[in-house]
């Protein structure tokens, strides 16, 4: 855990980087007490987990307070969202507050959205709080920032009790040249700040962004990364952790992945003595290339929600029929929620799933993920932060289609004959012979049947759900 004296010194430094930092004080704890809020987001997740329900959460952020309120009310009242988002703009994610300020002021003057999200830091504690207070459902801060220290300060002081991201998952998929060592350290601050609030009676829920690059991430890679972000958070005093996974499009594999995600994270937390941490799971509806036609888009959204419910994920992040075109209207966003709602509430318990197949797939995902985590722990010599940095350096942890130079990018995923994600190249992932033999056999079943360049198959695999492009299991993918 970060030393208290050092942490308070760092806080003064961070809060001085933009004027609204001065609005942060221990008044926040009085505010939480007045509201009777001891971590409402965490409570809602725990209730859902106990009841075996899957909660719905959309994405969404616009620059102005009244527009954000209008958006969230629509998502809550028309879209029936259980949990709400406050998605932060790209300038704030990169700590470019001056540019965010310029675009915010122009947006205010012209009454239009010139930022692709809500600039929490520029709005400060009071304005950000106004959004939260205008809706009934709890709101989470979602972004993509390698250094979210000030963003977390303003968010927690404003009353937001859930915060997405982590030193790995908000760096590697988003940045090309930010050292992992730095982002992991800056996120230890966010986790410590979460621990600081938790110790004072306000449980902050921390969520790892498990969808990562959103392009055929092999389940074991997502699981191993989540385990480390959970350990890094727990080490700083976080008591409510959500781990995530993005839909790959193969129901058995996706369900197995979510199950392993929850159990393995819990096991590793136990092993290192973090016995009082609550773990919940988040399933992201398909993050890859989205169909342009609404019918197909709704089909895919429904499949995602159904898979989430079958996997008993605590929550599902929904997509919209406008996904292929950019930022959706609030109406389209609500339609994606309603499509997901139908699946989650009425369909999932009617769909039988071959549990033996799920268990078999889960066994292999756990075996692969455990191999990665164990090797990384060995490299870290007892330190979680060093484990992560050294494991990525050595390629023992890796992420395909990653823009960052701090991942080796030696892993290349490919689908097998059934559409499940396997490895064409496993790079330096520390897998045993049985694991590699099984992988070879599975991809051979597909590739053996067709005499084509595997790299051309991968393009089809990425565009799995696109019109006229998609993967076909019957024809061996050709």
């Amino acid at each position: 855990m970060i030393d208290e004296g050092l942490f308070q010194a760092l806080r003064r430094e961070v809060l001085a980087t933009w004027p609204t930092g001065q609005e942060v004080s221990d008044e926040a704890f009085e505010y939480y007490q007045r509201k009777g809020d001891s971590g409402v987001f965490h409570q809602r997740l725990q209730e859902a987990k106990a009841a075996g329900r899957t909660l719905l959460q959309p994405r969404g952020g616009v620059p102005l307070v009244h527009l954000q309120i209008e958006l969230l009310r629509h998502l809550e009242q028309v879209g029936t969202a259980d949990l709400l988002p406050l998605t932060v703009d790209s300038y704030t994610r990169q700590n470019r507050y001056e540019e965010a300020q310029r675009h915010l002021e122009r947006s205010q003057q012209e009454g239009v959205a010139l930022l692709n999200g809500f600039p929490v830091v520029n709005h400060g504690v009071r304005n950000s709080r106004a959004v939260l207070e205008a809706v009934a459902a709890p709101v989470q801060i979602r972004h993509g920032s390698p250094d979210a220290r000030l963003l977390a300060e303003i968010s927690f002081a404003a009353g937001y009790t859930s915060f997405e991201g982590g030193g790995i998952t908000y760096n590697l998929p988003y940045s090309a040249r930010v050292p992992l060592e730095r982002s992991v350290r800056d996120w230890q601050y966010v986790d410590r700040l979460s621990g600081y609030y938790t110790e004072r009676g306000v449980v902050i829920n921390r969520e790892s962004y498990g969808a990562l690059t959103g392009i055929m991430v092999p389940p074991a890679i997502a699981v191993a990364i989540s385990v480390f972000e959970a350990l890094l958070a727990a080490e700083q005093g976080v008591k409510s952790i959500t781990v995530g996974y993005g839909q790959n499009g193969h129901i058995i594999q996706d369900v197995a992945a979510v199950e392993v995600l929850g159990t393995l994270t819990q096991q590793y937390l136990q092993r290192f003595g973090f016995h009082d941490v609550d773990v919940t799971t988040c399933f992201h509806e398909w993050m890859g290339p989205f169909p342009m036609t609404e019918g197909r888009a709704f089909g895919l959204i429904g499949l995602g929600a159904l898979t989430a419910a079958l996997a008993r994920a605590t929550k599902v992040i929904t997509k919209t029929p406008h996904e292929a075109y950019g930022v959706p209207t609030k109406e389209a966003n609500a339609q994606g929620l309603l499509c997901s709602r139908l699946m989650v509430d009425t369909m999932a318990h009617q769909v039988p799933l071959d549990r033996a197949q799920v268990a078999e797939e889960a066994r292999w995902i756990a075996r692969e993920a455990t191999a990665i985590v164990e090797k990384a722990l060995e490299l870290g010599e007892g330190r979680f932060d060093a484990s992560v940095v050294r494991a990525f350096e050595a390629g023992v942890m890796d992420l395909p289609f990653c823009p960052s130079i701090y991942a080796q990018n030696k892993v290349m995923p490919i689908r097998d004959a059934t559409g499940a994600v396997r490895y064409l190249e496993h790079g330096h992932l520390p897998f045993d012979k049985e694991t590699l033999d099984r992988n070879q056999e599975l991809i051979h079943q597909r590739m053996g049947a067709v005499d084509t360049d595997p790299l051309e198959q991968i393009e089809k695999d990425i565009n799995f759900f696109l019109e006229a492009e998609g993967f076909s299991a019957v024809s061996g993918g050709s």
Binding site: A176, R177, T213, I215, P400, F401, C402, P403, S404, I405, Q408, N409, M412, E425, D453, L455, E456, I458, E459, I462
Partner: protein, 150 residues
């Protein structure tokens, strides 16, 4: 990032990367892997690569070719003056291939190609060209260069 796994002498050395302020990474990874699998030594610079970074990597690795990707429509601006800078850096006969979505909007391909060739780019490829097409042409260009040097 450079691949060290080519056991035998590589067929050639290629610097790959996505030029300019572009972060599209998928094609870059597939191309780099296709080159490696075809027996080339690849120095993959990834995304957000400047002209200077391409040239420095080419000088350091004594590269035979630059494979430049661009998907956001600004390739023409990003590649302007690259040939001249290569010559200044002593890379007199380095091959420069450019591919991806190199032009903004819908344009006649022959016109786009003409403009790139006039800038001193050796080959330019339209959207969705499979990696193997570029690799076959590279093998042919390298063989021709060997012959002409005798």
């Amino acid at each position: 990032m450079a691949d060290e796994s080519v056991a035998n002498a590589p067929k050639g050395r290629v610097v790959t990367g996505v030029i300019g302020a572009d972060v599209h990474v998928v094609g870059n990874r597939l191309l780099a892997m296709a080159l490696e699998r075809a027996g080339f030594k690849v120095i993959n610079l990834g995304v957000l690569v400047s002209q200077e970074e391409f040239i420095n990597a080419a000088v350091e690795s004594n590269a035979d070719a630059l494979f430049i990707s661009s998907l956001y429509g600004h390739a023409e601006l990003d590649c302007e003056g690259l040939r001249e800078k290569c010559i200044e850096a002593g890379l007199d006969d380095i091959l420069i291939y450019v591919g991806g979505n190199v032009a903004l909007g819908k344009q006649e391909w022959s016109e786009v190609e003409k403009r790139f060739l006039a800038m001193g780019i050796d080959r330019v490829f339209p959207p969705r060209t499979p990696p193997k097409v570029g690799i076959e042409l590279l093998e042919r260009d390298l063989a021709a260069r060997k012959r002409s040097k005798g």
